[in-house]
Amino acid sequence: MTTVTTVDHVVIRFAGDSGDGMQLTGDRFTHDTAAAGNDFSTLPNFPAEIRAPQGTVAGVSSFQLHFADFDIRTPGDRPDVLVAMNPAALKANLGDLPRGGLIIADTADFTPRNLAKVGYASDPLTDGSLADYQVHALDLSGQATAAVASLGLGRKDAARTKNMYALGLLDWLYHRPVEGTISFLEKKFATAPQVRDANIAALKAGYAFGETTEVFANRYKVAPAPAPAGTYRQVSGNRALAYGLMAGAAKAGLQLFLGAYPITPASDVLHHLAAAKDAGVLTFQAEDEIAAVGAALGASFAGQLGVTATSGPGLALKMETIGLAVMLELPLVICDIQRAGPATGMPTKTEQADLTQALFGRHGEAPLPVIAAQSPGDCFAAAYEAVKIAIDYRTPVILLSDGYLANGAEPWPVPDLAALPPIDPAFATGPNRPDGGFWPYLRDDKLARAWAVPGTPGLEHRIGGIEKADGTGAVSYDPANHEFMVNLRKQKVDNIQAVVPPVEVDDPSGRARVLVLGWGSTYGPISAAARRVRTAGRRVATAHLRHLNPLPANLGEVLRAYDRVIVPEMNLGQLAMVLRSTYLVDVQSYSRVRGLPISLSELAADLVALIDEEDAE
């Protein structure tokens, strides 16, 4: 009999060749996990090539999923379970598996040729080299092929169902319901009934294999995670971001116009919005990034919500136009889904090294608000806030996400649109001067300027990139006016601090001496590491920034309250630099630039060491 063990959390990594469907498998397991009520977090990892040569390490595609009965923050550093569909997948991922970890390997692909291709002299599944692990070497391909034999598929197509077979097996192992995946397959392959049936059959066969054989002595249960009541769905960062933009535009009553040029890992923002034609979203695949942001700015000038989405190289190209938007003082949202740089860098890998570009990458004094999302689901709220600030303050806003957030997924309480704060474009509709004239650069008390939209009679005016006279917006080369305007534009952005909530410190002990401050996607690793540090009996405080410009009003005070401030970033210390300069506090950068999320266990260990050192002083 199989025993059932209850565990609080599990990390599974599915790994196989690019063609093995690992992303789909992982994604479905995530859905099945969501249905089981666990909290979860995912980390897809694809090769840079579309189809790297089969069977090579470079061609391995993997998907890691962390799920638990409590709220978790990261997809996990190291898997408990590795599903390896071929020797390359084993080779590429074994190093991450702790001793004692579970390996489920598809033996079908462990042929001498394939082993040789990745440099295995002998078969690790049989040569004893995996003695420290729990290895289940199963002919998943063969079993899947057998299971769908009756359906009349060709050999190749039949073998392709092995991923669903593996999924079925894992679903059984962790008590996941399979109904969701069945109905997913029914929809996906509606027009190819044979393929549909084969995949469903393989899924069920995998499940049944676990149930009926006694290959697995243990089966696991992970109880549902407590979560606030509500309706949840799974969401990836790019999808949530697209939804946030749509929600912002809808609440403002503006059309959403996305100008974009495809680039990894931002392309999905374009894809999601291009699929939202029912919601009136207009997308424009431009000839390049400059045209993309240009058209978005044109849409904003025309009185709609112009948005563009890109990654680092594209952001570099857009900067001149963003500078124009600063001068025009028009709403514009620029989403930068960061990837590892510089130059082409590692396009499929994550990084946070565009922060200084976002803050300072324009010529002249061209300040603008910068905000960052901290988790896949949080991309919604961050995008919504970006839209609101852009419209309220008539300013371009840079919204930072990254490759990890973009492709990662987590459970997401579906927001109630009605409950979101209202956004009012407050268009100028009539004269704003005592003499009946209209000055486009007259301002409200926030310093936001009047926004009159083409088609409004009597408010005709011209704007442009040459320095403008205060108030009238006419061309001006007056030295004093220029200085005034440079300062005024900065002041307007600084004024946004009024709507930036104070940074909140999480310090359960109330007596921590070390503060760990993060921004963006380091939220997960930092909060998870802090939990581990506290479990290890140390005191640590954490805080996280959504707003990188302007910074929260209380931040200086917060930083000064600690003996030591550590800033983990996936860059060489970009936020740290800003904080040091702004507050003259000796914050320390904790820099990890590996194209991967910061490792929570490494961070936790480092924090423990550091806290002990601090306490010893």
């Binding site: 000839e287 240009g294 083409p454």
Partner: protein
């Protein structure tokens, strides 16, 4: 509902003015700051004269320009306008046109702005057939930056940046436009007010991307670049749809097609008027328009066709893109639809 011009035309969807407008309505309070004698003045005056004749509301006119002397144009027209950055006006105008079918969208650009830094946006706007009208002020020089050669300057041009003479062959802007699938391609001259009016009116009336090259004299840095054309020997070849293409004193010269398909200029008396090419601006195939564009010298200008080389109907990018959308006029309905979309089909409840 407000009145608009007929469907299918360039201004369809743009509301008509209820009161007649005059040139003064299109004159802004800004002091015009071109050099004395600059060809831009004539174009501006013509533009301000023709706008009221279109019948559309002034407030529904948008002019987007790049950077260059000519790109100061929007400041002088009392409509909505944007003086943007170098080369990007067609891209910006694309965003305006896509989101606002009720606007008449003009682009003002120069030979450097449109063909040097902005070449890519120009060819893509033409290819997509976005409903915008592009006025390309071609003075064959960079005016604003004080006289470097441009992609339309003749080879051998001596300028500050080419003291030994430029070595590259210029673009023929209309050949380039035709190669880029443009649906409306025309040329006119700063000083020919009636012709300018006619061509610009046709251009804005064309639904889709229209490009109008305007020969514009820059008395400061490239004075007289078009003098040989304007001279009495009649180097300008006026094109009129359905009419034989003749020019020169008493229409004594004409364009004929050779057996190898190329066009050349002949004495009408010699070849007979019946053999002169009859202009067909609406030919679906751009081949003849292309051949006509080649009658322009690339070096010092002696002959050049003016008028509408090509004017064909094709659905516009912006009309087609908008047609794919469902736009919810009712905000409540819109929010409800969006709520359903973001909720999706695969939820669970805690």
């Amino acid at each position: 509902m407000t009145a608009t011009t007929p469907a299918g035309t360039g201004l369809a969807g743009v509301p008509l003015s209820v009161t007649p407008l005059s040139r003064k309505d299109f004159t802004s309070d800004q002091e015009v700051r071109w050099c004395p004698g600059c060809g831009d003045y004539a174009v501006l005056a013509t533009f301000q004269g023709l706008m009221p004749t279109l019948g559309i509301r002034r407030e529904n006119t948008v002019i987007v320009s790049g950077i260059g002397c000519s790109s100061r144009f929007p400041y002088y027209v009392d409509s909505y306008g944007m003086h943007s950055i170098h080369g990007r006006a067609p891209a910006i105008a694309t965003g305006v046109a896509m989101t606002r079918p009720d606007l008449a969208v003009w682009v003002v650009t120069g030979d450097g702005d449109a063909l040097s830094i902005g070449g890519n946006h120009l060819i893509h706007a033409l290819r997509r057939n976005v409903n915008i009208t592009i006025m390309l002020f071609n003075n064959r020089i960079y005016g604003l930056t004080k006289g470097q050669y441009s992609p339309t300057s003749e080879q051998g041009k001596v300028t500050k940046s080419t003291p030994a003479g430029s070595v590259d062959r210029p673009f023929n802007p209309l050949s380039l436009a035709l190669g880029a699938e443009a649906t409306f391609v025309a040329r006119t001259v700063d000083s020919h007010r009636a012709h300018l009016t006619e061509v610009l009116t046709a251009a804005i009336s064309h639904r889709g991307a229209s490009i109008v090259e305007i020969y514009q004299n820059c008395p400061i840095f490239n004075d007289g670049a078009f003098d040989a054309l304007k001279g009495a020997d009649g180097g300008l070849i006026p094109l009129r749809h359905g009419e034989p293409i003749t020019f020169g004193p008493d229409g004594s010269r004409g364009v004929v097609r050779g057996p190898d398909g190329t066009l050349r200029i002949a004495d009408v008396a010699e070849v007979g008027l019946g053999n002169v090419l009859v202009h067909d601006a609406h030919a679906d195939d751009p081949g003849t328009a292309f051949a006509l564009s080649r009658l322009t010298d690339t070096e010092a200008l002696h002959t050049s066709p003016i008028g509408i080389l090509r004017d064909v109907e094709r659905p516009t990018y912006d009309d087609l893109a908008r047609a794919q959308l469902t736009v919810h006029e009712d905000p409540e309905e819109r929010l409800a639809g969006l709520q359903a979309m973001i909720t999706g089909g695969d939820t669970w409840t805690v």
